[in-house]
């Protein structure tokens, strides 16, 4: 043992004291990753976009022109308005009002743009009162009509006359946070338990694998129905959803754990792992420092694929009363409301949340792509 470790050390010394030192040769792992990531232009842009989405989510109350749950009887299914910057050659940012009539036969409101009715709009206007992050009371909105009672529907209105733009903005907050918690928990559990299972083998492996099989054999729908009955109705819908997400991820880690275990088993006999072990490195260090980084790219790819799933499945459990429900606004909820022929044919603007999801998923995927390449800095393709 002593001989072998001396040999390794000597080799390392040779490398470090080589005359011809390049920055890449001495840079740490994270440094290498960052360099590599910066070279991936699309990923950098995607990263900025993801940051933008999160900023929108964080400042949703201020950015949205209206309260997303405020209904307006006169403007059910109002179509989107256009913003004009000039009126009669004068600088006057405005939208046009509507002429609203009720079609007694088809039972819907018909909207005609009223060219006469100018609704001036501005930045930092007074509007609906809100509490920023549930704490700070304020009433300023980034953009909105100067008279808060005028209709202002840049992305149209839904069946209860609620502003789609405000709803999409508020939806970003829920969709880009709670769902991801579940992905994160699954990820951590999967890596840790899969890693332990693969690395140690023997009875530990056996035990963990049997637990995985047990969890996988539980039929999910009866399980959710049981949970739905067990959760007190007095809980806030957001807490219920959060609890359910956590519970789903508590049994959702099994697939990832199996993959990690396979990777670990195939790598634990590799020279660099044996070398680290012979160096006397502790087991958890070997797993986190040496094994995990070598299959990080695979995990990142997995994770970025799981996120769109999570957004779209927000409402999947709502039929049991444990998915996201009104008055919580999320992209999944909005898309569910748009999933019918009536919306496509008579109110296509209800599908705008779909574009938001596509945008978020694409940017997250590009970001993940860049991160995956970066996590594997020695690959050259």
């Amino acid at each position: 043992m002593a001989d072998a470790s001396a040999y390794v050390k000597t080799n390392a010394e040779i490398q470090v004291y080589d005359d011809d030192v390049r920055a890449e040769d001495v840079a740490g792992q994270w440094q290498l990753m960052w360099w590599r990531f910066k070279r991936h232009k699309v990923a950098v842009i995607a990263g900025i976009c993801v940051l933008f989405i999160y900023l929108v989510g964080i400042f949703a109350e201020f950015l949205s022109p209206m309260d997303p749950n405020d209904h307006h009887t006169r403007y059910t299914y109002a179509p989107p308005q256009n913003v004009d910057l000039f009126h009669d050659g004068q600088w006057l940012p405005h939208v046009k009002g509507y002429q609203v009539e009720i079609d007694q036969f088809t039972l819907r409101r018909t909207f005609v743009t009223d060219e006469e009715k100018i609704i001036p709009i501005g930045l930092f206007v007074k509007g609906d009162e809100y509490k920023m992050w549930g704490l700070i009371p304020w009433d300023r909105h980034l953009i909105g009509p100067l008279n808060p009672r005028d209709p202002f529907y840049l992305w149209g209105a839904d069946r209860l006359g609620r502003d789609m733009l405000s709803r999409v903005i508020h939806g970003a907050r829920v969709s880009m946070s709670i769902g991801l918690v579940g992905v994160a928990i699954s990820l951590v559990l999967g890596i840790i338990l899969g890693g332990i299972s693969g690395y140690f083998g023997g009875w530990i492996d056996n035990a963990i694998q049997r637990i995985i099989e047990f969890l996988k054999s539980i039929p999910t729908i009866p399980l959710w129905m049981g949970l739905a009955a067990a959760i007190p109705l007095t809980w806030e819908p957001l807490y219920v959803y959060f609890a359910i997400t956590v519970l789903i991820s508590l049994i959702g880690w099994t697939g990832l754990a199996r993959e990690v275990r396979g990777k670990v088993i195939s790598m634990k006999g590799d020279d660099f792992v044996i070398a680290a072990r012979l160096d006397g490195l502790r087991t958890n260090k070997i797993i986190t420092r040496h094994l995990v980084p070598s299959f990080l790219s695979h995990i990142i790819a997995q994770t970025t694929l799981a996120i769109p799933d999570m957004i779209l499945s927000e409402t999947a459990l709502s039929f049991l009363g444990i998915g996201l429900q009104p008055p919580i606004v999320s992209w999944g909820v909005l898309l569910k409301e748009a999933q019918n022929i009536n919306a496509v044919a008579t109110a296509p603007w209800l599908m705008i949340p779909g574009l938001a999801v596509v945008f978020a998923v694409l940017t997250l995927n590009f970001l993940g792509d860049g991160m995956r390449d970066a996590a594997d800095p020695y690959s050259h393709h």
Binding site: T73, L107, G321, P326, T346
Partner: protein
């Protein structure tokens, strides 16, 4: 003694048929011509009764042929077949739903205290295999099906289930029978015209079903059949063979018989019954349509597309929702269809049921305080909800019979429908809720809030939307209402066990159907979600904990028992009025608005569909408007 004889239009029509008969040889149904020519089927006059009932046509005498293409969502939709195909009982509703009229029974007599009902069957009616339908079939049903304890309870009919041993059936001759009851049974005819009850008397052909019945078949032979069918017992085999939506061999009295069963995953299909026993005014054997085809489509959006494309001839289920009307209206030309009015017997778009028999000690006195229920009722703006959710259609309304009903009670319908939050605050202050806590919620002297949970069914979008707004309004005045959307069966489960605090549901039974099912005003059913515990105490239902009903509830119940005992419609109306007055005084539930008529879709080349069909399970719509006389033309 009341004697019912056919009268009015159908009488005249019948006379003309006799005249017609004497001079004219009937034209054979084209679809059956070859079978008749080949001698496989007797000619039309031998298949029909000598004096067949005449069905009045809505618009004109029709043409033979064609298939009624419609939709079904899956094997759970038996009720959709019951109402479209299977509405041929001994009596039926007239198309206008004003009275019970003859069907398989051509007349009947009732004695004055409604204990003796004598029915006279139409002579010469035949099952779809050509065997005559006689009192032998009624006798088989009563003595060997209804009274057999091994067979399902539903075969006994809800109407007679509790009178099984106290009732006698007397067979007078092949076509006349009498039911004699110990207690008066004033609602028997109404109940026999509705699917829950009427269906049973005319669906068991004795000559066919006896082979699956333990009292008539050798035990070994029966056991072999049970094993071959892979079923646990002969009763299961009997039930399976008696299913007219699945068993192709079962003779029926319906206009069409099944050729592709309800369990099929593509099409559920019914074809002409060559022995159907009704004719039009010109003596043509009905039905006009050769077949009815229900395409199985699980997805409601796909159903809508099929209607938009003109692939459905007539339908008034699944796709006829309020929001779909706009897109259906826009595509009328493309799909070559139009609307017909689908009236409703519902009295409310949404009824809020506080559980007055809740075992929650805090809520029990609050919910049972009429002032609280009145406060809830006046603290939201019904007109706002009507404008928002129903585009202005309807009017503020409580749980009360519809304005066109003869039982209409204006006070019950309109009390506490005004929007008056100040009045609500006054009432709540009287109850001791005059202070507010730090978050603006009303509290009593112990600092307790008015907190309760309302459950809404997730499959009812308008209810979800309305309840969200109502709960907001309640919170605005300081009532801590927690609004939760749950799955339908979960809500049902809570309701049936009486563990809900407050829930919202449909308001059904606003016309004469409310006489058969007055659960909105008397706790006699699981639908009486305001008094599930009372219902359990009154009927002995075991799902919920019984709660002793207060005197006024028992009074209403006694009035209803009295109503059921009388056969006199005027006395029934008067007693029903008294029940409604008590409901108005008690004000158990809170209504929102009166539902307006819905719509159905009919192709322009599909005829004899009336301008209005009235909805209601007790009416088995569209059964009463006679689908047998619907017909199709080329364009």
């Amino acid at each position: 003694m009341t004697i019912f004889k056919p009268r009015g239009l159908s009488r005249i029509a019948m006379t003309s048929v006799f005249a017609f008969l004497a001079t004219h040889a009937w034209a054979e149904v084209p679809m059956l011509q070859s079978a008749v020519d080949a001698g496989e089927l007797p000619p039309m006059e031998e298949r029909l009764p000598s004096d067949p009932p005449v069905v009045p046509v809505v618009e004109k005498i029709g043409e033979y042929g064609g298939t009624w293409r419609t939709l079904i969502s899956g094997a759970g939709e038996e009720s959709w077949l019951v109402t479209n195909i299977g509405y041929d009982y001994i009596v039926r509703w007239d198309p206008g739903l004003n009275e019970v009229v003859p069907n398989l029974a051509e007349s009947w007599t009732v004695n004055d205290d409604a204990t003796e009902f004598t029915f006279k069957l139409v002579e010469g009616v035949k099952w779809s295999d050509g065997t005559p339908y006689t009192t032998a079939d009624v006798d088989f049903w009563w003595n060997h099906v209804a009274k057999n304890p091994e067979l399902p309870r539903s075969f006994r009919t809800r109407s007679l289930r509790n009178r099984l041993n106290s009732t006698t059936l007397t067979i007078i001759d092949d076509y006349t029978f009498t039911f004699t009851f110990e207690e008066p049974h004033g609602l028997l005819l109404l109940e026999m015209a509705s699917p829950d009850n009427g269906r049973q008397l005319s669906r068991f052909p004795a000559h066919y079903m006896k082979q699956f019945h333990a009292e008539f078949t050798d035990a070994d032979a029966l056991q072999k059949m049970v094993e071959d069918a892979n079923l646990p017992s002969w009763a299961d085999l009997f039930e399976d063979r008696a299913n007219q939506w699945i068993n192709k061999d079962l003779p029926t009295l319906n206009a069409w018989t099944v050729t592709s069963p309800l369990t099929d995953t593509q099409n559920v299909r019914f074809e002409r019954n060559p022995y159907y026993w009704k004719v039009d005014a010109e003596g043509n054997q009905l039905p006009y349509l050769d077949a009815v085809n229900f395409e199985v489509v699980g997805d409601k959006e796909v159903m809508l597309l099929k209607v938009l494309n003109g692939e459905v001839d007539m339908i008034h289920r699944y796709i006829n929702t309020f929001p779909n009307k706009a897109v259906l209206a826009d595509n009328r030309d493309r799909g070559n269809y139009d609307f017909f009015e689908y009236g409703t017997s519902d009295f409310n778009t949404m009824v809020i049921f506080p559980n007055l028999t809740t075992d929650d000690e805090r809520l029990h006195p609050i919910f049972n305080d009429r002032r609280f229920r009145e406060a809830l009722s006046v603290s939201f703006d019904r007109q706002e909800l009507i404008d928002l959710v129903f585009v202005g259609q309807g009017e503020p309304y409580q749980a009360a019979p519809r304005p066109e009903s003869k039982y209409y009670n204006e006070t019950l319908a309109k009390q506490h429908t005004e929007y008056d939050p100040d009045r609500a605050l006054e009432l709540l202050a009287e109850m001791g809720y005059s202070e507010t806590d730090s978050s603006g919620m009303l509290v009593n002297e112990n600092g307790e809030r008015l907190t309760f949970v309302i459950t809404v069914r997730e499959d009812r979008q308008p209810m979800v939307d309305m309840m969200e707004i109502i709960a907001d309004r309640w919170r605005d005045i300081g009532i801590d209402a927690i609004n939760r959307v749950v799955e339908k069966s979960f809500q049902r489960e809570m309701r049936n066990s009486g563990t809900h605090e407050m829930l919202v549901d449909d308001g059904e039974g606003g016309l004469v159907d409310g006489l058969i099912a007055p659960e909105a005003w008397i706790p006699i059913d699981n639908n009486s979600a305001y008094g599930i515990g009372w219902f359990a105490a009154i009927t002995g239902d075991e799902d919920a904990l019984p709660v002793d009903p207060p005197a006024e509830v028992m009074e209403s119940y006694a009035l209803f028992q009295q109503l059921k005992r009388t056969g006199d419609p005027d006395e029934q109306t008067q007693l029903y009025g008294e029940i409604l007055t008590r409901a108005q005084e008690q004000f158990y539930t809170i209504g929102v608005s009166l539902p307006v008529a819905g719509y159905g879709i009919v192709k322009n080349n599909f005829h004899n569909v009336p301008d209005t069909i009235v909805r209601g399970w007790q009416f088995a719509d569209p059964g009463p408007v006679n689908p047998q006389q619907f017909f199709k033309t080329a364009n």
